[in-house]
């Protein structure tokens, strides 16, 4: 008999335990973060949560800082490689109000969400040389006109093109419009050995959002207007999406382009299977490698993206540095961010990692231009680049964009219908931010 009671006890205990801890979890869902910008005070050891430090540059910079700040050591916390997982880790950190992360290396599209949820601190504008920085990059750090992060790195797509083929066909300048791009391909086709005309990132992921926004902006429209309202009813938006849709239909973009992320496209370009390729700056060094990995080394150049009637606009990428609301020693964190985002440090960063700085002046530095010949083109690209929607529910917005754009590209929806549905979806997402 006692035995039976005992077992019943185990079961009951299990239930009771679950109930108690379950109820104790009530608090966490109800909390409403009404964070007011607090003073960034406190000195002491901090951490920097970021994606992998591949070049070793960051550790070097940290060592430099640590040797001059023995009582304010910074420890590097490396997060998984994918942006999705980095965001996931940061959100979990905020959800549990853990002080594990102090400084966060955030993607430019996360600012609004992190700020609105009260996960990151407001920063004092006068402490940063914002006027020397690229305007577009600075905009990505603001939410409700307040600074929530320091601009750190920037990025924008460029048009890689096969200069050798264009030269051979007597085309002296890279195409400025989509029509020019298509006709260039027709001229080049006989010598191109069956290479596809144009490639980009069209798989259903964040890259598609970038490529879609770019196409819309390059046609002269906007995904969301200056007031943050969706603006896809504009006829030009349809022309932008139509460029991609029709390119798939007429084979300007090879069929397999729908599976391209950055690396699949780079593979095609490096194997000589693409004449034009919309890609980030990182491809420049890779495709120019002379170790036999690239068949197009020395045969290509970069230009600004083409548009409907003239040069197009790129989507702005990049990273910012923010301070977690739940971290300790925020005074040190602020000083450390100022150090990492200083012009001198960003120059070293560029030289070691080829990641694009936010200081306009560095793009004109002759020494750097010699090392990175694409810098002038990149400067134009980031200078005119359009931000992706800066809204709290960015993740919902980008999912909606990917759903509709992908449907249009694969032909399951007309571009008109896709844009109409997207307008409705985005309106409701922005509406209940």
């Amino acid at each position: 008999m006692r035995g039976r009671h005992g077992l019943a006890g185990v079961v009951a205990g299990f239930g009771a335990l679950a109930l108690v801890v379950g109820l104790s979890a009530c608090g966490e869902t109800k909390t409403t973060d009404t964070a007011k910008p607090g003073a960034l005070e406190g000195k002491g050891p901090i951490t920097l949560a970021t994606g992998k430090d591949t070049s070793g540059y960051l550790q070097g910079a940290l060592d430099k800082w640590n040797s001059s700040h023995p009582n304010e050591q910074v420890r590097l916390i490396e997060l998984p490689e994918s942006a999705d997982q980095q965001r996931q880790q940061m959100i979990q950190n905020a959800q549990t109000k853990s002080d594990a992360y102090t400084v966060l290396n955030t993607d430019v599209v996360w600012t609004a969400e992190f700020a609105a949820n009260g996960w990151i601190e407001q920063l004092p504008e006068d402490q940063f040389a914002l006027d020397k920085m690229l305007k577009g990059a600075v905009e990505t750090t603001k939410y409700f006109n307040k600074l929530y992060a320091a601009p750190y790195l920037t990025d924008a797509g460029m048009l890689y093109y096969r200069k050798d083929l264009l030269d051979a066909a007597g085309i002296t300048a890279p195409p400025k419009t989509w029509d020019e791009l298509k006709s260039a391909c027709q001229k080049v086709a006989p010598q191109a050995g069956g290479a596809g005309c144009y490639g980009g990132q069209f798989e259903k992921y964040e890259g598609l959002t970038c490529n879609f926004s770019e196409a819309v902006a390059s046609a002269g429209a906007n995904v969301v207007d200056d007031q943050g309202k969706p603006a896809l009813s504009d006829a030009k938006a349809k022309q932008g999406l139509d460029f991609l849709v029709k390119s798939f239909q007429d084979g300007t973009i090879p069929k397999e382009g729908i599976t391209y992320k950055e690396e699949e496209g780079r593979r095609a370009f490096q194997e000589g299977k693409l004449i034009f390729h919309r890609q980030w700056p990182y491809q420049y060094a890779k495709a120019n490698a002379t170790d036999g990995s690239s068949k197009v080394a020395g045969k290509f150049a970069v230009a600004p993206l083409p548009g409907l009637t003239g040069p197009g606009k790129a989507t702005l990428g990049g990273h910012n540095l923010a301070i977690s609301k739940f971290g300790k020693n925020k005074g040190t964190a602020l000083e450390f961010i100022k150090f990492l985002t200083s012009e001198a440090e960003e120059k070293v960063h560029l030289q070691k990692t080829s990641e694009a700085p936010v200081y306009a002046a560095l793009y004109d530095d002759p020494e750097l231009v010699k090392q990175f010949p694409y810098l002038p083109v990149l400067k134009d690209a980031v200078g005119s680049a359009v931000p992706r929607p800066r809204i709290v529910k960015y993740n919902d917005a980008t999912t909606a964009i990917q759903d509709e754009a992908y449907a249009a590209l694969t032909g399951t929806k007309s571009s008109e219908q896709a844009l109409k549905d997207l307008q409705t979806k985005l309106t409701s997402i922005v509406g209940n931010k």
Binding site: L17, T259, N395
Partner: protein, 321 residues
């Protein structure tokens, strides 16, 4: 308490009755001691999150944005909305689509895995030269971490990848359509058939050799021996293996996520929907999805155990006499 409820097997006949009662109490206490650590660990690490998720699934959160600071304001209340929303409108369509994917993945992969796994076990159980090598190779797929095998298969199935090269096709495996569903099935069966193989092998290994010798003497051919003797004897192990495979596939998440990517109608599973809600910070709806999936899995498992595996909970058949 009388001796009638005591299984005759546990108490050898002829012992005095009082002894039996004492022993029975002792058995109960022993069972309590043996079981409580497991139940405690499971209760703490799994039970607690389940209960807290259940609670959150009934909490509806209404969000707004403070017009001055831009900070999110949240009001919460108890409601069934998280559940009703799952089944209505656009989300309803996505739900039933994911439900269908989850179910077809489960049925297809579990059937294939069972057949392949049993074959593997039969082969591994036989003596022949190079058996060690065969065993090693069968284990390999299962030992590769899912995240890495997802990447591997993504690379294999990429448009210019080796799969298209070998098959001499230009299939776009990772785009919407039956081919992406198939790619997931291929990768999943490859990875987990060895799991069933291993468990069935263990089941085969405890079959006493005399059983087969008796069958041989009776003149049963290999096929009959398999159906009449081997299969019934490995049934308990096989049932557990298949059951746990079903539980896993029904909750499948990382393989379609890494291999095909989320947001594809052809391969989105219920777990992926739950993940999407969570990554969009809608914890209530995410918990509701998780709970619905939980209920679905429980029903499937219940039916399965009732139909095939009563002996696991009950007495145990196939005891060699």
């Amino acid at each position: 308490m009388t001796a009638t409820s005591v299984d005759a097997r546990t108490v050898p006949a002829g012992k005095p009755r009082g002894h039996v009662t004492n022993r029975r109490a002792g058995v109960g206490r022993l069972a309590f001691l043996l079981l409580s650590p497991s139940v405690l660990v499971l209760g703490l690490v799994i039970g607690y999150p389940i209960v807290s998720a259940l609670r959150i699934s009934f909490v509806k959160t209404t969000e707004g944005i403070d017009a001055n600071t831009g900070l999110i304001t949240r009001t919460t209340g108890f409601s069934l909305d998280n559940y009703t929303n799952i089944f209505t409108g656009e989300t309803g369509r996505l739900f039933w689509n994911a439900f269908w994917n989850t179910t077809t993945f489960t049925v297809t992969t579990v059937v294939i895995e069972t057949v392949v796994g049993v074959c593997m076990a039969l082969i591994m159980n036989r003596a022949f030269r190079g058996r060690g090598l065969v065993r090693a190779s069968i284990l390999v797929p299962w030992a590769i971490p899912t995240a890495i095998s997802g990447l591997l298969w993504r690379w294999i199935f990429t448009s210019q990848g080796i799969a298209n090269d070998v098959l001499n096709t230009h299939v776009l495996w990772t785009t919407e359509g039956i081919q992406s569903w198939l790619a997931v099935v291929i990768a999943d069966t490859w990875k987990t058939a060895p799991f069933i193989g291993l468990l069935v092998l263990a089941g085969l290994q405890i079959i006493p050799a005399e059983v087969y010798e008796a069958a041989k003497i009776d003149g049963a051919d290999a096929w009959r021996t398999f159906w009449r003797i081997t299969l019934p004897l490995v049934q308990p192990a096989l049932v557990v293996a298949v059951l746990f495979r079903m539980l896993d596939v029904l909750r499948m998440f990382d393989l379609p996520f890494v291999l095909i990517g989320r947001g594809k109608m052809s391969t989105d599973t219920l777990s992926i929907l739950a993940y999407n809600e969570m990554s969009n910070l809608r914890f209530g709806p995410a918990a509701a999805y998780a709970t619905v999936l939980f209920v679905y899995v429980a029903i499937v498992a219940y039916v399965f155990v009732r139909v095939l595996g009563a002996d696991i909970v009950g007495r145990g058949v196939g005891r060699s006499k």
